[in-house]
């Protein structure tokens, strides 16, 4: 079964002639037809276009001129990326039917690398949520237990990789939206440094925090995907003109002598004992491999969440002002005047969580509250950033749990604040703009994946990948696959 293979394994079969991109595409499309009705990862399938792209790739391999390591690899995208000619909804009713006139830079890069695009993946509306339950269309299921959520907001991207419904996917991470679903679904998921990857054509949520990153079946695949999308883009002034290293080369470096920090504040009351045990075991594994571990302190961790829930909604309330029923998307008819049309369209087009955050952000930015909320949160952000700067004077990488617990059941977190608390370990990384990664760190007794989080210095994704690869090589967790009955 080609769908079980990693990108590097599948690419090797293409190069040796044992398999063709068309065979791989057809196997994935068949598997999506059989299993996606259970997992519900896809919002839109682009089967015909995918077969066309695969046939072009076949021709390149036939003359031994593939475009690179992603040529012919079946991939899929969170529905937050604009795709030329393919409906892009961002999980929202307000964008139902929106057909972007251009590709996001990351999409264009994957196409140019020969990637075969299978479709668009489910997500929490406008990337606001931790479960995909905020999707306007349906909730994606966790492939390890269909009664549980896959995490979010990039839940479709994580579930698709875990269930072998795509070889690798792209998602976005504003407060944990790649790392948390990667943890819940047991895949590798990497949030690069703020500025590492272009956001041109990405539908904006919170512009000082959003970043694009990959999900892979293993660490090497995440590295391959990052290599394909990283780098400065003249179309995104927030992308950084920083050289992109060879990530594949970093994978084999090992962790001997590497200084690994363990943050006290991430081992707190409320941390699931099974998650703690797995993370402690992972730390011991890294020590066995030659890493030097030491405790570090990130004292403002507990304030990160509160600061985030001012900053992200404030930026969102501004970014989402563009959904006004004029240029694209939904318009509610029968309005008295223009303002009434805006208000009714937004009232009908946005879901409960998006409305909540637009309200919260508008409130925090409104006259009389700005200093108390937004101004204060930005100062706290400085304190969170300084915590990391001090820690990284002592260590090369930080290791911690990705989430306080494992995948929860659908409907379990009905209270918004309880849902937000799930992101307490991932949010500080976004506030500080740092790269973070979740790798499979074991399983609970009941067979649910546990995420191990690695946090690195700015633009040092290579050390995350190197550490993750060394850990993965010493364990056999990734050999386990969810069982989906046909």
């Amino acid at each position: 079964m080609l769908t079980r293979l990693t990108i590097h394994e599948l690419g090797a079969r293409f190069r040796s002639g044992e398999a063709t991109p068309s065979q791989a595409a057809r196997e994935y499309l068949d598997r999506i037809t059989s299993f996606d009705p259970k997992v519900k990862a896809y919002l839109t399938r682009t089967s015909e276009a995918a077969l066309g792209q695969a046939a072009e790739s076949d021709a390149r391999f036939a003359v031994k001129k593939p475009l690179g390591l992603l040529d012919g690899i079946p991939l899929a995208l969170k529905d937050v990326f604009c795709t030329r000619g393919v409906e892009t909804t961002c999980g929202s009713k307000i964008l139902k039917g929106f057909i972007p006139p251009y590709d996001a830079t990351v999409v264009a890069k994957l196409r140019a690398a020969g990637g075969v695009l299978l479709g668009k993946l489910n997500m929490d509306e406008f990337a606001m949520g931790s479960s995909t339950e905020n999707s306007a269309f349906f909730t994606t299921r966790n492939p390890w237990d269909l009664s549980r959520v896959p995490g979010g907001s990039s839940g479709g991207s994580a579930a698709a990789v875990a269930a072998d419904l795509a070889a690798a996917t792209l998602g976005t991470d504003t407060g944990g939206s790649i790392r948390q679903p990667a943890a819940f679904c047991g895949t590798a998921g990497l949030k690069p440094t703020y500025g590492r990857v272009s956001r041109f054509g990405l539908i904006a949520f919170a512009s000082s925090l959003d970043q694009v990153g990959p999900f892979g079946k293993d660490v090497a695949d995440a590295a391959l995907m990052l290599q394909a999308i990283a780098g400065h883009d003249p179309m995104d002034s927030t992308s950084a003109p920083v050289p992109v290293p060879d990530y594949a080369a970093a994978l084999s470096l090992g962790v001997k002598g590497l200084k690994v920090g363990i943050p006290d504040e991430y081992f707190i009351e409320g941390l699931d004992p099974e998650v703690e045990a797995a993370v402690r075991a992972a730390i011991a594994t890294l020590e066995d491999l030659g890493a030097q571990t030491q405790r570090v302190s990130l004292p403002h961790t507990e304030y990160g969440l509160a600061a985030y829930y001012v900053i992200a909604p404030a930026e969102a309330s501004s970014n989402l002002a563009r959904y006004d029923g004029v240029k694209y998307g939904l318009r509610v008819p029968g309005a008295r005047d223009l303002i009434d049309m805006y208000s009714r369209t937004r009232g009908a087009g946005f879901g409960a969580e998006v409305k909540r955050r637009v309200m919260l952000g508008t409130y925090a930015l409104s006259a009389g509250y700005y200093d108390a909320y937004y101004g204060k949160a930005q100062k706290v952000r400085t304190l969170v950033l300084r915590d990391f700067q001090r820690a990284f004077e002592l260590v090369d990488v930080i290791v911690a749990p990705t989430t306080p617990g494992v995948a929860f059941t659908m409907g379990e977190r009905a209270d918004p604040l309880q849902m937000y608390l799930n992101d307490v370990f991932t949010i500080p990384v976004n506030l500080a703009g740092l790269p973070g990664m979740s790798v499979l760190g074991g399983f609970t007794r009941t067979g649910l994946p546990i995420g191990l989080q690695l946090i690195g210095k700015a633009f040092d994704e290579a050390t995350l990948l190197r550490t993750a690869k060394a850990y993965e090589g010493a364990t056999r967790w990734q050999e386990r696959k969810p069982e989906l009955a046909a």
Partner: protein
């Protein structure tokens, strides 16, 4: 009972600013939920931030300039293709200004 962080009147005023039509049930639920979230956010007040500069983005960035060179733009039809309503080469919207009696 603690003073509510946000009143119904404030919810209505913020909804107006945000251009959101909310039903009465949504307003009440919004007031209750925002109250809980704002109470949680209040923990920031406990932190002394005297003299701490604000961070607007974590990776420092100054103005990013590019050469002012003409480039192709997207065709107008393509840019109008997603519009819910259009008139020729324009987006059409409901009236903005009250019509005066003598205007047609």
């Amino acid at each position: 009972m603690a003073e509510p962080k946000i009143t119904m009147k404030e919810v209505e005023s913020v909804a107006r600013l945000a251009r959101l039509t909310l039903t009465d049930a949504e307003k009440e639920r919004m007031r209750r939920e925002l109250d809980g979230i704002l109470s949680y956010i209040d923990k920031l007040r406990a932190l002394d931030t005297e003299g701490v500069p604000p961070t607007s983005r974590a990776v420092p960035m100054t103005n990013v300039m590019r050469e002012d060179e003409p480039r192709d733009s997207f065709p107008q039809d393509l840019m109008l293709a997603n519009a819910p309503d259009r008139s020729g080469e324009f987006f059409r919207v409901p009236k903005i200004i009250e019509e005066s009696p003598e205007a047609s």
